[in-house]
Symmetry: C2
Subunit: 766 residues, 2 copies
Amino acid sequence: MAKIADRYFTVDPWTVSEAGFDPKHGRVAESIFSLANEYSGARGFFDEDYTGDSLISSYFNGVYEYGAEDPSIQYAGIQKRGHFMVNADNWLAMSLEIDGERLDLHQATVSDFTRQLDLRNGVLTRSFVWELADGRQVKLTFTRFISMVDASSAYQQVTLTPLNFSGSATLTSRVDFDTRHGADPDPHWEDVRDFNELTAFGILGKTRTSRKRVFTLAKVSFTGVTPTTSTPLDQTRVVGTAYELPLTANEPLTFTKQVTNIVEKDEAVANDAIWQRGLTTSADQADYAAALKTQTGYWDDFWAKNDIQIDGDVADQQGIRYCIFQMAQTYHGQDPTNNIGAKGLTGEAYGGLAFWDTETMCLPFYLFNDLKAAKNLVEFRYSTLDAAKRRAKMVDCEGASYPISTINGDESTSLWQHANTQLQPSTAVAYAIWHYAHLSDDTAFLNTHGIEMLVEISRFLYSRGAWNRKHEFSFYGVMGPDEFQVMTNHNAYTNYMALKTFEFTIETAQHLAKTDPATYADLVAKTGVSDEELANFQDASDHMVFLGDTNGMIEQQQGFYDLPHIDVDKIPVTDFPLYDHWSYDRLFRNDMIKQPDVLMFQFLYNQDFTARSKRLNYDYYTPRTIHESSLSPSIHSILAQELHKFDDAINFFGFATRMDLDNFNRNTRDGLHTTSIAAAWLNIVYGFGGLRSDGPELILNPGLPASWQGYQFRINYRGANIQVKVTAETVTLTATKPTTLTLYGKETTLQETPLNVALPAAWRAK
Amino acid sequence: MAKIADRYFTVDPWTVSEAGFDPKHGRVAESIFSLANEYSGARGFFDEDYTGDSLISSYFNGVYEYGAEDPSIQYAGIQKRGHFMVNADNWLAMSLEIDGERLDLHQATVSDFTRQLDLRNGVLTRSFVWELADGRQVKLTFTRFISMVDASSAYQQVTLTPLNFSGSATLTSRVDFDTRHGADPDPHWEDVRDFNELTAFGILGKTRTSRKRVFTLAKVSFTGVTPTTSTPLDQTRVVGTAYELPLTANEPLTFTKQVTNIVEKDEAVANDAIWQRGLTTSADQADYAAALKTQTGYWDDFWAKNDIQIDGDVADQQGIRYCIFQMAQTYHGQDPTNNIGAKGLTGEAYGGLAFWDTETMCLPFYLFNDLKAAKNLVEFRYSTLDAAKRRAKMVDCEGASYPISTINGDESTSLWQHANTQLQPSTAVAYAIWHYAHLSDDTAFLNTHGIEMLVEISRFLYSRGAWNRKHEFSFYGVMGPDEFQVMTNHNAYTNYMALKTFEFTIETAQHLAKTDPATYADLVAKTGVSDEELANFQDASDHMVFLGDTNGMIEQQQGFYDLPHIDVDKIPVTDFPLYDHWSYDRLFRNDMIKQPDVLMFQFLYNQDFTARSKRLNYDYYTPRTIHESSLSPSIHSILAQELHKFDDAINFFGFATRMDLDNFNRNTRDGLHTTSIAAAWLNIVYGFGGLRSDGPELILNPGLPASWQGYQFRINYRGANIQVKVTAETVTLTATKPTTLTLYGKETTLQETPLNVALPAAWRAK
């Protein structure tokens, strides 16, 4: 199945732009031009009225609504009512009218249209000349940004220059809570309280079912003009003002809107308190110019520490920078009750829900970018431990079962074949605790929140698994990452991840008991963990079923080798996506793999397996894998690079950095593939860079794809910023403080002084 | 799990009755007192107004409505919109009022209440004395029956005797299409046209979504009184008349309502044509007395040919007669577009849908009772062959895939884990064709409709199954009758039934090609069947995977022996029904069996297996079986009897005949377990009687349970009525014409002259 680029945006190392507006790409551009700061996000929709196809959406991280209960679900243990990140208010909303003619790019005549996102400061700029029906022309420039430093602040500026006439215009600026969620068009917001003082207005909105509140305040100012009249709006769930503006030919005027968004997720907080907080925050808000300066400083600093440079492929260069930019926008550890939805804050698809992608795909980016952000991702799971314990009870198990998909910690998926059989969300949390603790040495976390989660997860796994009559422990009726195999037994992924979870739980608990008996006593008091229970975990771990041979070849699940074979390369392109074109059960009765099971855990716990085992499994499973998950190719690319299969490595890398920029899956209109964006970063740093973080010390085996002249990346590790620069001949490494790691199999200490090493021939793709 | 009787009805060999009315048993009694004649059915609800808990339902076989499309289904190949047998008009509806006081047993004071169903004539009688608030008393007797001979005819009679006063009463009689379906309370019927001539009234109703029409006409007459006034009703979807009746103390008066119900399933028929047919049919209708005489004659004749007598247990005697009575009421081959819903025509549960129970559980009753009825059951599947072909396409297969549940031939089940993985509806149709053809010698059917279905079913099976790399044929991702094992491979039931289907298809096709080339040419023209395709079926059959050993012990599916064991006897009673109390996935990850897979096909194709194989499998699977299907115990009982495990045989028989009379499952309120009723018949005739019909000739091995003194049953076979009478010492057999069969392993010819054989000690339970 060949994926084909649909290139629309201009290729440039530091910007993403379109020259001219093609409405057919309207929704794709809205997704691509999304701005966010973890706290909130807004798609790149037009500020002014637009009657063409558009998804006007703004989101606040963790602000969700409940769906209707599904009456078709009649069995126990199945989640009947999901939740989803709800479309919130349009704080950019405005209209522009000149003598009764309203600006609407669906109908207006415009020229010189450009739209550009600058990755160096996160500012989205759009400009064009609007020609009215009678030939009068107005030049318009719109800018917006959401502060990465001051979470509640966002800014909009519009500059208007009448080119060939004088007269007047009406500019209406609004805070609009009357938005509609595309998938559920009933209004989700109530106007709890609002105000309108003509140059300042706002609404305290509340969601219908989840009682989350957002208070949006706008402060409006003009330069180069004074409104002749200001008329307040009177609409349901909308506040704002219409300003009558005198226009003088060729004299620009500027409208500036400073927005404050206050999110309150706690029902106990009084409306008055939110109201006051909003007013105070708004009063203290930096002005546009000052905020823009701070914003630019933030991104300068960010790129200095986290940039990846690719020499020899501008498209990949742009792609990876766009990925890093969107990762940082989506999440940077601002709040431990936030997480990373499958589409970030850029669209409605997957309901804004977070999956186990967070721990397996996204976490490494933060581990090597900002440990505090990484910690907050792990703390998110601690903050939802109670929900995971409730879920475990719901499925007749003990301990804590983490959800397949969630915003608030509760399982949101009603599909039992996923929610009740996929144990990887729980084992991924254990993996994340281990990965974070291992790279951070944060024993304080590990010995409290970390071990508490580990005990509850192991307890869940032990109760969900079972002993067979040969005293072997295994999991029955489970689905691994390969979602084309439903209800399997002895699934290698599930079993291996459970084994690692048991072992890390035992090791951590026993170490704590020995080194810090008082804290261990707290754990016992809190969880009831006992030596006997740890012994059970050990027993299960010691007798875990693995279907493999002495060469290290692993059978994905009981019966996998026996499944009928289909040649995935012969499936017609028109059959994709398979879920839409194949009878559901047909997906499940052959040896086709959606995304890898065995290769996945051989990536996650890479050092546990011999090269021979990895090669055998790669060679067997790769031709059977259809990559219906956008995360799948990067894992194959990383392992291919490790196995010196350089053609595979670059082929699987393929569209990784440009999945959305080139709309490879033709669904970027619904939002960005945020977790694939994380996989693209992995693909360069773990793939071509050869980073491994699962051994006792960091491993680096940088290689170079044949099509690149060179590349460099930076990672932050134990207080040092490490730069790895690769050219065709040389690998140059620096670290801002002395850092020891294994480079090409040899213990090496990096320093500020560059270390130059010849790129080994074995790692140079031909 | 012990099931406990909730005995409420009086035990009697020929009647079912209640003495006194207990509203707590109101809905159970409504189900038990259901009347039907295949064409239509009505629960035993009260004729007059009743404000207590009640399910006022009448049904017409094959008259269904569509449910709403399920928006949660997003995958291909899954049925999104089901259908269900819809509650139709209440043609018994009436009110009785005396001086403003309305009869309502929820509030009225009554004495001497009795209700009785007479199995000898199918008449339901109810009588009581109603005491008004001021002490005035009225004796009331209600009778009703639905004609078994004249499908569209039904009768109601009410006799009223004022015991201690004279005065007047208002009796209102109605045809009421304003009924509500319990599970979907919107009105489902439109009043297309109606009339009201005071002593005759009717409505031609049409269902909203399926456009089925029912024309109900009532003719009303009085004896012993002449109404002083007759006032027509004016209500939506209701016609009728209120009659003012003078009352004279101790002088009975009788109200008689003759009802004609005309069902039209064909949309093409004009309303006028239905209207005229209704009027003509009503005009020709027999009166109450004549109809009752015909009805009694029908049942006299029926019982003479089909009765089972049990000597030594009146409760079982009543139970089995009730079962036979309800089977005959529900279905007797009146129309090949009818089938047998899981609840017959007695309630809403399971949506009135027919399952594969029809072919496996119900068909044998008709094969030995009325071959024409049996043929019509098989012809039902031919009449829905096109729907089965559409369904096969929908699941990306070829040929014909018969639905899990249906009224109109389309799949009605949206649960993919059943509808897309259970192949037993299709193999059951093949089994039924074979069973019918084998017992009837109806080669005309077999060589036309029969072989056409067989080819299409085999084609489906061949396309749904697959070859593995060892050139073995099997089915992957399937569920056998044991619905506690989802998505299994190498399921023994599926594979064995498919093998038998392939073999019978090949045998029938090849025999036809040889003996009747012209008819075979028709088949080829119609189905495109070829020698190559038959060779494929043969190849699949020859290389079908069976996981078994040389002793005949069969593994239910790949990996079954390896499943964690749970002791089903230790599951607390409060956990039942498990679907309500266990997390859905928990049902699926152990070796607990819902209903038997291996034992089931060893029952269906009984002669194919050695006694040793049957014993080994019985001993292994029985302790693992939880019998969450009400069909399950009878299969175990039948095999236990064959294996001379007499304690098991009688224990599993247990509640079979009285499942509903004693409300063992506590859900008889929702309707009768019609297919379990069929299983009870099987349990006696195939179980204790030792009948086997899958060999070249009939086999009989009658035994006697220890708790019975004796029993006798009758079966119709190749034009003979055979009576088998068993006492503690002797088995006596007669046949109305000479019939050869195998009795206790010896070829024996039965005649009109009784043949007395000593009951072998080996078959006598101690």
